[in-house]
Symmetry: C2
Subunit: 301 residues, 2 copies
C-alpha cells in the first residue's frame, strides 16, 4: 500500500500487493494512509469508469466460468468482505461492483440484527448459512450504521469492534474472539473459499461531507450518526487493531482509500478480477458424446 | 393476452392486463398462444433494448423507494416467480432484468435439491426462508433441468408438475397441493407481498434450437434434456393445469411469449415496472430536525 509521500512504483504492480495490509501482527497506523490517494489507479474518474466497464465484461466471463466449473465438482468460490466506517460506501460498492456480475451467481449478506431463527443457533451459524456455495461470489457487509449496531448485529469483525468501542467485553475476551475469527477464516480458505477482505478507508472530513448530503435521504440517516462521530478516534483505533490482528496469510486485508468513490469502485473491481484470474476457473469438458446429441436433435428429437 | 390471430388493441393497454391468464378455473390451451408473438411490445430488438435501458433507471429508482419506505415500517415487497420449460430463459431473465436493479435489494432463490438443513424442516420452511424481506425484490426460479428434478427440487409449482408428469402421486393429491399453493400465495398477498408469476412460454422448435447451441456449453446441458423432450406434451398439459389451477385474483399468472429473448426481457421488466408503479413506494419523511443536524455537522461535528 502506497503510504503518504511514497514514490510510485516503477512498474505496475498487482493491485493486491499494493493494497495488502502486512500480516504478522505489525502495527497499523491509519493516519499514515491518505484516504484520497489512488494507488495504482487510473488518472481520473472518466478513465476509471471506462476501465470498470471493461473489467465488467471480463468479470462476468470469469464468474460464468467459476459457476460452470462448480457444476462439474469444482468447490471453489469467492467471499468479498466489505468493512468501514459509516458512509464509507459498502452499499455503493455492492451496487457498482457486484452490479457488473450475473446476480444469479452472487450471494449477498447484509448483516443486521439477528432473526429469531438465527438467535436459536450458535454465533457462527448465521455466518455459515450466508456463505457462498461452490461457484458463487459471496458478499458480506454490515447494513446498519454503527449507532444502531449491537454486539451481534454486524459481521463478526464489526461485532468485536463495537464491543471494543463500547467497552462491552474485557480486552482479553476480544483478543480471543479475533483469534476465533482468524481460525474460521483460515478454515474457509482451506475449504476453497477465496476470502477478500476490504477495509474502505474514509477520512473524517469526507464522512462529514457525506453526512451533509444525507439529511436529504432521511431513510439512510439518523441523528445518532453524528453523535457517533465523537467516537471517531476509538473506532479508528479499533479498526487498526482489527486490521493488525486479522491480517493473515490466507485471509489478508486490503486497505482501500475510499474518499474518491470512483477509485474505491475501480479498486474493488480490480481486486476481484485479480483473484478470479488467479483462480482461473475452466469450463468443464463434456462427459457425453456431443456429436451424437447434435444428431439426435437435428433428426427431430 | 393476444391469442394467435387476434387484433391488436386500439390503445396501448397495460401489459399486465394483456398477459394476464384469466382466473376462475378456465381451461388454458398453450397451443393457442404463439410463443414468437410480441404482444404490446416494441417493434424490434433494437427498440426493445433501448426501452429496457430506459426502464432500468426507473426500476432502480422505484426499488430504492421501496427499500427506503421499508426503513420506516412499510412492509411491502415484491416476489417475481419465473417458470417454464428447460431453456425458456429463467436464468437469462434474472441476468438481464434483475441485473438492472441494485443487487443489495434483491433476494434470489434458485431452487435445487433441498439442503440437509432444509430437509430437517417441513416443506414450506425453505420457501419461507427464501421470501423477500420488506423492501426487497425476491426472485424464485428453478435452476435444475427437468431431467434432474425430483419431487422436491424445484419451486412448489414445479414439484407438483414433476409429480404429475412422472406419475409420482395420485391426481387427487396433486389437486390438494395446488389448493395449498393457492392458500400460501394468497396469504403472501395479504401480507404485503406482491406476487408476479411469469410463465415463460417457449415453443418445441425453439427449445431444439437452444439445445443445439448448448452442447458447446456442456455444463448447462446433459443428454437427459433430449430424452425429456419426449415428455413435451405431458409437460405442456401439466403447465396448462398449473396455469388454470393457480391463477388466482391475488396471485395471477402472466403468460410471456419467450421465443424471442428481447421480448421476454422487455415484458418481464415492464411487468415489474407496472407493479412497482402501482405500489408507488415513498421516501419516508424525517422524524428529526434536519436543519439542526446540518448545523451540528457544519459547526465541525
Amino acid at each position: 500500500m502506497a503510504k503518504k509521500g511514497s514514490k510510485k512504483a516503477e512498474k505496475e504492480p498487482r493491485l493486491s500487493e499494493l493494497l495488502r495490509v502486512p500480516d504478522g501482527g505489525k502495527r497499523v497506523d491509519l493516519g499514515s494512509y491518505d484516504a484520497r490517494a489512488t494507488p495504482g489507479g487510473p488518472k481520473d474518474k472518466k478513465a476509471a469508469l471506462a476501465e470498470i466497464e471493461q473489467m465488467g465484461e471480463h468479470l462476468a466471463e470469469l464468474q460464468e466460468r467459476l459457476w460452470a466449473a462448480s457444476t462439474a465438482g469444482d468447490r471453489r468460490r469467492v467471499l468479498l468482505v466489505l468493512q468501514g466506517m459509516d458512509t464509507s460506501g459498502k452499499g455503493g460498492t455492492v451496487k457498482h461492483v457486484i452490479g457488473l456480475l450475473n446476480p444469479s451467481g452472487c450471494r449477498i449478506k447484509a448483516f443486521k440484527a439477528p432473526t429469531r431463527e438465527e438467535l436459536k443457533h450458535p454465533f457462527l451459524w448465521r455466518i455459515r448459512q450466508a456463505l457462498p456455495a461452490p461457484g458463487e461470489i459471496g458478499i458480506f457487509d454490515r447494513s446498519l450504521p454503527h449507532s444502531r449496531l449491537r454486539s451481534s448485529g454486524g459481521t463478526p469483525i464489526e461485532d468485536v469492534l463495537i464491543a471494543r468501542v463500547r467497552g462491552l467485553a474485557p480486552r482479553s475476551e476480544l483478543t480471543r474472539r479475533y483469534a476465533r475469527i482468524n481460525r474460521f477464516e483460515t478454515s474457509l480458505a482451506q475449504n476453497d473459499v477465496t476470502v477478500i477482505k476490504c477495509f474502505l478507508h474514509l477520512s473524517y472530513d469526507e464522512q462529514r461531507a457525506r453526512l451533509l448530503e444525507r439529511p436529504d435521504k432521511h431513510w439512510k440517516f439518523n441523528p445518532g450518526d453524528i453523535d457517533e462521530r465523537e467516537l471517531w478516534p476509538a473506532y479508528q483505533e479499533a479498526y487498526e487493531l482489527a486490521l493488525r490482528r486479522c491480517a493473515t496469510p490466507r485471509a489478508p486485508w486490503y486497505l482501500i482509500p475510499a474518499d474518491r468513490k470512483w477509485y474505491r469502485n475501480w479498486a474493488v473491481s480490480r481486486l476481484l478480477l485479480e483473484h478470479l484470474e488467479a483462480l482461473d476457473p475452466r469450463y468443464p469438458k463434456a462427459d457425453f458424446d456431443v456429436e451424437a446429441c447434435r444428431k439426435r436433435l437435428l433428426k427431430g428429437a
